[in-house]
Subunit: 214 residues, 2 copies
DNA sequence: AATATATTGTTGCAATTGCAACGTTTTAAA
DNA sequence: TTTAAAACGTTGCAATTGCAACAATATATT
């Protein structure tokens, strides 16, 4: 997975951040960054911590749009963050570098090798983000909870080339990701277990239905 | 909306395409490009025509992942097109320029101004694609058909700053986009009409519930 | 270690939804 | 212009789902 500063040396990284007039900020856990990024057109780079981009709809339902860990990036542009329905919430103490998006696009000093490298890394990361979002769309366009789960399992097992699927956080979060009711998901997982298609050991799910792994 | 050759003159465009060893191909309507792009790592630029990226699942359900018109781009990288479940289908006679993705990322001649401009355009387009995908995710994460429709209407009306929402293709395609059954959508649209929330005139939907427009 | 908080499993029930099957209308092709 | 194909509207019905509520674990905090 490409990171935003890959192939850029520490001295060049400093020069780059100076060139782009980057600013570093720190936030306590459970802070909202909405007022901070509102009306701005910025690229953020998480240097430490964990942040969620969420959407709160009229009924107060919160959808996790994206999760951001160390070295992840986000853009007010790409996440509709200028919209008031969106918010950035730090789930841990977090450090973020902010860069004015226009500085990236319209930099005059753009012939520097590290600047070109930065743009390349950005392209790679954006491409990867699109791939991830396509993946989620594939999954949640499935019509039944069962098919959503199976699609999710298939993608995850292909990724790791294994019949084991590990739930990275909680089943509650998984239900969120799949855009289904948690209890209904729990019920369907039980069905899949009873039909002998899967086995669940804590956060590890074992796929028993795929010929490839039997 | 940024296009891939924005701010690049025709002569420079020619130079750029030569530099990137681009190849132009033409395809008849209703062709599958799967075998063509399989195992490749390419960026495609539609110069003429209309193409759909679709996914066919185990039950033969087809999901439209993306629609591509003139000057749109696609990448085997970002669309999991290397996966056999995905396909590119031309819906009209189509002309496509193919560029080896690695040539874009690892070009040695990368200090040329038009090359930098190309990368900037690419970043803008990718950013826009992410925004679009986030939008669709917001919509289809809604739990009921009614809420999916209303969310779709809200986003569309905000975009055009108007109480009119125009269905660009067909209601069948809209149901696809929203990942719901067409007849069930039809039923819910009828309910919305009967409750006086909307009015439908052909492909034009009039929103009657939003204070902003009344 | 004790307490508070979050996660998980479960289930009844009402509401929503997909599906299938029509006939009708519109659009495209021959 | 005639014919074929696609899109649309409708509805009964069975299946799926969300919701609410609760107890039981597990995790985090003091």
């Amino acid at each position: 997975m490409t990171k935003i500063f890959d192939f850029i040396s520490s001295p060049n990284k400093r020069k780059l951040l100076y060139l782009l007039q980057a600013h570093r900020f720190t936030f306590n856990k459970d802070s909202s960054l909405q007022s901070f990024v509102k009306n701005e057109n910025i690229l953020g780079i998480i240097t430490k911590g964990y942040v969620q981009i969420i959407k709160v709809d009229a009924n107060d339902n919160r959808t996790i749009i994206e999760e951001l860990f160390e070295e992840d990036i986000f853009g007010t542009n790409m996440s509709s963050l200028k919209n008031k329905d969106y918010d950035l919430i730090t789930k841990e103490d977090t450090e973020i570098i902010f860069i004015d998006y226009d500085k990236i696009i319209n930099n005059e000093d753009n012939n520097k090798a590290f600047y070109v490298q930065f743009q390349k890394n950005l392209i790679e990361i954006l491409t990867e983000k699109i791939r991830e979002k396509n993946e989620r769309i594939e999954i949640i366009t499935q019509k039944t909870i069962r098919n959503k789960l199976l699609e999710y399992f298939n993608i995850a097992s292909k990724k790791n080339n294994s019949k084991f699927v590990y739930i990275s956080s909680t089943f509650t979060d998984l239900a969120d990701y799949l855009a289904i009711d948690r209890s209904a998901m729990s019920r369907e997982l039980k069905n899949l277990k009873e039909e002998g298609l899967i086995e669940i050991k804590g956060k590890k799910i074992i796929l028993l239905y795929n010929d490839k792994w039997i």
